[in-house]
Symmetry: C2
Subunit: 239 residues, 2 copies
């Protein structure tokens, strides 16, 4: 709960935690915590149903629950998409929410600056190393400024690297002035959490993790390329 933590701790109200993340902070009087849930929205929905209040779910509530479920499952494509996820989506869709409009409002409000930056990256900055089944992107501070990049404009960019044919591990290295931030993605059993944890002060999930470096962007890139041989066999075995 990050910067809200002091306020929450001070409050004398009863506190309820509903979460599906690993290792949530401990502050709550009641907890509904299930790391096997696809989304916190799934737990909220289960709670509403368990309380016997399903009939109170109106369109605005259904839109919020659907938005949480849909985004946390990557539009129903991540491995956390169980049959129950689809059954919950079915019940929400039956309430006449506009799924197409929700997707559009969440994903299709892209500024032209963001598309120009993405275009530049795909055309000039995406590097593929087939011998490691690895693809990556680097972005300097000057490049971000040139495209008037705002917070969030680089979000999801690493997924393009992961979508290159044959690639099983992808990274984006971004110069954030005080440090280099790295996002890693992988598929299957290859753990980018282990790599990020061992070499880049990072952590996260097996297939989606982050790291950081106090070296320059060029030095961080060299360091990453230098550790790849250690993982080459695992990478080549991953399909």
């Amino acid at each position: 709960i990050r910067e809200l933590a002091p306020l929450v701790r001070q409050s004398r109200a009863r506190k309820i935690l509903i979460d599906h993340h690993l290792e949530p902070e401990s502050f709550a009087d009641l907890a509904l915590w299930d790391p096997t849930a696809a989304a916190t929205a799934e737990l909220v929905f289960q709670l509403i149903v368990a309380l016997g209040d399903k009939a109170l779910i109106d369109v605005p509530i259904a839109e919020c629950l659907y938005s949480g479920l849909m985004t946390d499952t990557g539009s129903f494509r991540h491995p956390n998409t169980t049959g129950n996820v689809h059954r919950m989506a079915a019940e929400l869709v039956d309430l006449n929410i506009d799924v197409s409009s929700i997707h559009r409002r969440i994903f299709d409000n892209v500024t032209i600056d963001k598309f120009r930056l993405l275009g530049y990256v795909l055309n000039e900055k995406l590097r593929v190393l087939p011998e490691y089944k690895f693809a990556y992107i680097t972005l300097t501070d000057a490049e971000l400024k040139q495209y008037r990049s705002k917070t969030g404009d680089t979000e999801g960019m690493v997924n393009y690297a992961l979508a290159v044919e044959g690639v099983v591990m992808a990274a984006i290295l971004i110069d954030r002035n005080d440090e280099i931030r790295i996002s890693f993605r992988s598929i299957g059993n290859f753990s980018v959490r282990d790599l990020a944890n061992k070499h880049f002060d990072g952590g996260g999930h097996r297939n989606a993790s982050g790291g950081r470096s106090k070296l320059s962007l060029a030095e961080t890139e060299q360091k990453l390329l230098a550790v790849l041989p250690e993982y080459q066999q695992l990478l080549l075995e991953t399909v």
Copy 2:
């Protein structure tokens, strides 16, 4: 059924049509036709269930049915995504198909050439006309050749234009040597079918249609820009 038609007509076998498209060809002895179905795969699934054979659906069959359902609903985002679509997906997912792998095999095998072309287009060829809530892309034959474009490399590109903030209509104009092919997309009530039909010898769906022109690429672009004022009020009213 296009080029298969002569063979199908010659055959003396019993012919069954299963389809959800408008106005299917007439050749079948039995027809299971429902244009309100999200996908032909949905009708196939319903038929299997109605025949009492649901228990025979194994993983390969479930993967095929899921693939048809998922692609025809745009990964469960198009307006055709009903509660029944999600219930069918739930039953297939329960059979232990790997949804993440299916998405990856269908969408994430992108060649680096295709990404370079997409990057070039987003960086240099995407034009936005806010006064018409319209965005479009043109591609010359030379540009396609420069990026070694193969069939399918431009597929879906028009959706990037539609994802620009504020845009309700998008088009891509591609020089295919013998003619200019145009793909139109729109959201909400604005009908690109009507525009394509009236001005570009086209048709299709309200929100996704195609057209063609025997003019040059530059002339076709000028013609399109010239017809926009006729639709300006409708476009500005669309949200």
